[in-house]
Structure formats: C-alpha cells, structure tokens
C-alpha cells in the first residue's frame, strides 16, 4: 500500500511493479484484453495512457484541492472528475492535432479510447484517497502509467505467440488469455515484500 510519508522512489516502484494497476489491482482490464493483440498497438496505447494520466490527475488534484475542498463540494467528486477528464482529453486531442501533427498521427486513434479507460479516473481517485502531495501524486501517476505500459507490452508479446500455439478447443480465445494473465499476475505477486512494500 502507498502512504503519504513514503519517499518518491518507493512510491514509484510500488505504483509500477508491486501494485501493478493491471495485474494486481485489476483496473483498466477492458483495454488490456481488448487491444493487446500486437506489440505495436500496445506500445502506442501505453504511451498515450501515461501522457493523459499524468495530465489528467494533475488537473483533478488541482480541482479537488482548490475548488472542491474550499467550496465544500466533496460529494461532487465523482461527477467533477469524470467530466474534467472527459473535457480535458477532448481538448488535448484538439491541441495535439493542431500543434504536433506527427505526435497526433502516432497517438491519435488511442486518445478517444482513453476517456473510457478507467485507469485514468482510478489514478485520479487514488491520489486523493492516499492523500498525496502534488509532487508525489505526479510521481505516483507516472509509475502507474509505466506499470500499465510494461504489463500490456509483455502481455501482447505473449499473446502473439499464443496465437500460433495448439490450445484445447474450449480454451481458445479469451479463456486462455485470462489463464495467461493469471500466470503473469502470479509473477508480479513475487515482487510483494520488496523493500517492505
């Protein structure tokens, strides 16, 4: 677990490996199974998620601490966060398309998908739940996004090989994918206890 008095390196390590968002926390699984068919797509999606996640949770942190708390509007947290993030992703897509066409060509198709990616919203909620400072939440979100990238790319690599392997008929398709995820999750569980995390 993360606490607000941990140092930056431990927060990063915990977010990325020990509490890996996909394999240990089960967040953002829809995209995990949906687009991890090939490595290239997965790398693109992973980078887009890191980018959006860092931006979105910084904005949610500011919204929470400078709008929701001073005006005593905590019950609007869920609605405020999701609307902020959705608006922000739209805005970001427009800015990138206008200013960085090359980046847009590389990331463009993934951006709209990210609005419904629960990892982004989850990161925004978690930095509030863990009561992290601004710098710490920045490091935490980079860690979470990095963990997403690592897990999804590794998983895509395995799936490309599974596609060619002989598999029992009932397990073809999604079942074998979940069993693979189970084994990967088991491997990540091995990091538990590292540096007392």
């Amino acid at each position: 677990m993360i606490s607000s008095d941990m140092n930056l390196f431990l927060i990063f390590l915990s977010a990325m490996i020990v509490n890996n968002i996909l394999l240990i926390r089960f967040i953002a699984l829809c995209s995990f199974f949906g687009i991890s068919n090939n490595i290239q797509t997965s790398v693109g999606m992973g980078i887009a998620v890191i980018f959006v996640m860092v931006m979105a949770s910084s904005i949610s942190w500011i919204v929470y601490h400078f709008i929701l708390i001073p005006f005593d509007l905590l019950y609007l947290r869920t609605a405020a966060f999701i609307l902020t993030i959705a608006t922000f992703v739209q805005l970001e897509e427009m800015v990138i398309r206008k200013m960085f066409p090359a980046l847009y060509r590389a990331m463009g198709i993934y951006l709209p998908l990210i609005v419904v990616n629960c990892a982004v919203l989850a990161a925004a909620f978690l930095i509030i739940d863990y009561n992290l400072s601004f710098i710490k939440s920045l490091v935490y979100t980079i860690g979470v996004g990095g963990g997403y990238l690592v897990a999804i790319v590794m998983f895509a690599a395995i799936r490309e090989r599974i596609a060619l392997a002989p598999i029992p008929k009932s397990f073809k398709g999604y079942p074998i994918t979940f069993i693979t995820a189970s084994l990967m999750s088991l491997a990540f569980l091995g990091f538990k206890g590292l540096f007392g995390l």
Binding site: L83, F171, P175, I179, S182
Partner: protein, 201 residues
C-alpha cells in the same frame, strides 16, 4: 420471414443472463468483477451497487432520450450515471462501512464501467422505458450472478468458507492463491472455458 422480430420485455430481461451475459460474453465490466470477487459477500455487495446504478441510469436515460441533444449525449449520460454512483457510494459509506471499505475505489469506478455506459448508449437511448428497465434488470442479474459465483468459488477454495461461514473443516488447507489476484484471472478463465463448451454443444 419478417426482418425485425418483436422482442417481449421478458426476452429483454433474460438475454442478459446467458446469451448476452455482460461479463462472460461481451467481456465488459471486468475491473469490478475481478477486483471485488475476493469473497462471496464482496461479490454480492458489488452486484447490488451495480444493479442500483444500472437500473436507475437506464430508466433515466430512456426517459430523457427525446430531449437529449445528440451532440452532447455522452456528457449527459455520464452526469446521470455519476449522480447514481455518488448516491450509492454515500449510502454504502453510511450503512455498510466495512463493505464500502473493502470495495474501495471500485464503487466510484462504476461510473466508467463499460456495461453501464454501453447499455445507456446502445440500448436505453433508443428504446422505451419498460424495455430499458427490463434490459437493466437483466444485465444486472447477469453481472451479479457471475460476480457472486466467482466470489463464492474463490472464497470456497481460498478460505474454506462461504459468505463468511465455515464450510470445510480444519482438515482443509486453504489454497491461498484463489483469494490473491492471480486466482481471479484463473477462475474467470475457467468459467469462460466452461461457458464456451456449453455454447458449442
């Protein structure tokens, strides 16, 4: 043969159970299903929270479908859904604090649960109130049954209990992996394999 079959409200309800089961067939809403099924009680709790949000938002989206401008329908749906999520989140904090504690961030995350959003967009915004209500109930039951079943399986093998009550005696060494994260992937993998086998027959 007529092209478009008339679908009765009853059929809207039953399709969510098996043929269009949200978790096992359409593969949606996995986050909550896997994370909250560590035991049967958590699974049922998540199922109930989800049911409330699903049914209420389906009905409301269907009620306002004629006055919602098409361009901004997604933000409108999100606002409707997040209202109900906030209600159930606060209700659980007040009346079931320990359950709320163990479900944690996954209750607010119902707002981005693809099933709720997906049904609002694909079904409730195009169909009448009764059909949407039935669709919501069916989807919720389909979700609730699978998640409670997963919780029960994981709790049974992983701790030897069901809903917290001891089922297996002291002779049974709990297989801890079932309550840990890998167990969730394993159980749903096997459930899907069983389901594929039945469907193929």
């Amino acid at each position: 043969m007529e092209m478009k079959k008339k679908v009765s409200p009853w059929q809207e309800l039953t399709k969510g159970l098996f043929r269009e089961n949200p978790i096992l067939i359409i593969m949606l809403g996995l986050c909550g299903a896997l994370a909250c099924s560590t035991d049967a009680t958590n699974g049922a709790g998540m199922g109930i929270a989800f049911t409330f949000v699903m049914i209420c938002s389906n009905v409301v989206v269907s009620l306002i479908r004629k006055i919602t401008p098409n361009q901004i329908r997604i933000p409108v749906f999100i606002t409707v859904i997040s209202t109900f999520v906030t209600i159930i989140d606060y209700a659980m904090k007040a009346y079931a604090p320990s359950l709320s504690q163990s479900l944690g961030v996954f209750v607010p995350l119902i707002v981005v649960n693809c099933i709720v959003m997906g049904r609002a967009e694909a079904f409730a915004s195009k169909n009448g109130v009764l059909a949407s209500l039935m669709d919501g109930i069916g989807m919720s039951i389909g979700f609730g049954v699978v998640i409670t079943l997963m919780g029960a399986i994981r709790e049974f093998f992983g701790a030897g209990t069901l809903f917290g009550a001891q089922v297996l005696g002291a002779w049974y060494p709990p297989v801890l992996i079932f309550v840990l994260p890998p167990g969730a992937f394993l159980v749903i993998g096997f459930l899907m394999a069983i389901q594929q086998r039945i469907m193929k027959r």
